[in-house]
């Protein structure tokens, strides 16, 4: 026993190393498989408050760009208003429209923490469960798709951005509606994405838009980006297509969280079908 104690005190650095290393690896393995559901992340009180303060300061630096993008978006929205269209029938009647019911609502949020230079990039936004944000909602901005909500606290939420090795979204070619999957590019470039598993006979063209399909949490037709390069996948019937992203992730400022009112109904229905099989 005495010899053991002497042995331990002589090599105390090594034993201390073992204790701390094992505990940190345990933390690493445990919490990273639980999709960040832990208090050591940027939605907790201290780090969340700090990030909010600093992002308020950074907000001033980019006011001009934000104003420009908001003005552009306003202009395009004005173009969709009823008053922007010429009405060529004289008679006007007011009807209660029962054909269209709102399926998607949007919650505006500000980005308070963002990264583009890691393998798994996450964005923190300043809206949470109190404002109606829940897990698995889609997130877009004025220029295109941003990502998915993965974790929500009362006032903040974490978004897994498109620039993440785990993100895989349903996408299609804008012209001929050919369906594929959208993932981040292989070389961790924050400006490039990859549209995979397109049928070989789809004949995509350079410069064609890649947009969301209706099979995902997003409304149909939200842009991912434009096709810049085509290359066939070795020996298969499927094509891989390089896409330049429409969203500049390093300059994200305001985003919209998409609330699909039928999402829970759809997942419930599909889960029930799976159970029946």
């Amino acid at each position: 026993m005495r010899n053991l104690l002497i042995f331990i005190t002589k090599y105390n650095a090594f034993f201390l190393f073992l204790i701390f290393e094992i505990s940190s690896l345990l933390i690493y393995i445990k919490y990273n498989s639980f999709q960040k559901a832990t208090f050591i992340n940027s939605t907790n009180k201290v780090t969340g408050t700090l990030y909010t303060q600093v992002s308020q300061f950074y907000g001033y630096l980019s006011l001009k760009e934000v104003n420009d993008s908001l003005a552009r978006e306003n202009a395009s929205l004005h173009g969709q208003l009823k008053s922007a269209f010429y009405i060529d029938s004289v008679e006007k009647r007011k009807v209660v429209d029962t054909v269209y019911k709102q399926q998607y609502t949007y919650i505006v949020a500000r980005v308070i923490n963002n990264s583009t230079n890691k393998r798994s990039n996450y964005i923190t936004i300043n809206r949470g469960s109190k404002e109606g944000i829940a897990k698995d909602m889609g997130v877009i901005c004025s220029s295109g798709v941003v990502g998915l909500v993965v974790d929500v606290s009362e006032h903040l939420a974490i978004v897994q951005s498109v620039l993440n090795k785990n993100t895989r979204l349903s996408a299609m070619l804008a012209n001929n509606k050919e369906i594929g999957s959208f993932i981040w590019g292989t070389d961790l470039d924050p400006k490039k994405g990859l549209l995979i598993d397109i049928q070989n006979d789809a004949q995509p063209k350079l410069g064609e838009q890649v947009v969301t399909s209706g099979y995902s949490l997003f409304p149909t037709g939200i842009p991912f980006g434009k096709i810049t390069n085509l290359h066939a996948k070795g020996g298969g019937l499927l094509l891989n297509v390089d896409v330049t992203l429409a969203v500049d992730f390093s300059k994200l400022e305001y985003v919209y969280v998409v609330n699909n009112k039928f999402a829970s109904e759809q997942t419930g229905l599909e889960a029930g079908q799976k159970k029946n099989e």
């Binding site: 105390n12 204790i19 290393e21 690493y28 990264s115 230079n117």
Partner: protein, 186 residues
């Protein structure tokens, strides 16, 4: 015995000063890492992790248990901001072990009295450069490989390790020269 009694007061004051300096260094390095360096990168290959300078500059006499506990704490603090619980903590604990080994090989124990801290101005350029380079390489190698967690991209990861280490050591030398005090050099 008599001498040590006389030295007790100034020693105590010196110790509290060391604690204060290190606490300020901890806060400043964490702030710089999280709000400035986190956003700096060259082609997604070279990202500096300057915060490990805190562990490098701890005094020689720091007990091993405190060294490991502080490294673990520093790692967890960075993890809280990076959303990677445990990752930086694990890398920092490895760094602490390498520090203990490196110092026990290159520095004599009796030299601690007039060389309290392993800074650039006290230890000289050659020793500090080797020290910083070896420790940074170990830390970055462990950190980036643990983050990727697969051997399929080993070539890409290794190039990230080397390029990031160059960037980090460069920043360390700059900060060493910035706080260079000539009179401490013998």
């Amino acid at each position: 015995m008599h001498l040590s009694k006389l030295d007790w007061r100034p020693g105590k004051r010196k110790m509290s000063r060391t604690i204060l300096v290190n606490a300020i260094r901890f806060l400043v390095l964490v702030f710089m890492q999280v709000f400035l360096l986190k956003n700096i990168t060259f082609y997604n290959l070279s990202t500096p992790y300057l915060y490990i300078l805190f562990i490098l500059l701890l005094p020689f006499e720091v007990p091993n248990i405190l060294l490991f506990a502080l490294s673990f704490l520093l790692g967890l603090t960075i993890d809280a901001f990076y959303d990677t619980p445990g990752l930086h903590a694990a890398a920092c604990v490895v760094l602490a072990l390498v520090r203990v080994l490196f110092i026990s090989i290159t520095v004599q124990k009796d030299g601690f009295d007039n060389e309290p801290e392993p800074t650039l101005s006290i230890m000289g350029f050659r020793w500090f450069f080797t020290y910083a380079l070896v420790l940074t390489l170990f830390h970055h190698f462990f950190l980036l490989n643990l983050e990727v967690f697969s051997f399929t991209e080993i070539q890409y990861t290794l190039s990230r390790v080397v390029l990031s280490s160059i960037f980090t050591v460069f920043l360390m030398l700059i900060s060493g020269l910035l706080f260079f005090r000539r009179k401490e050099r013998k």
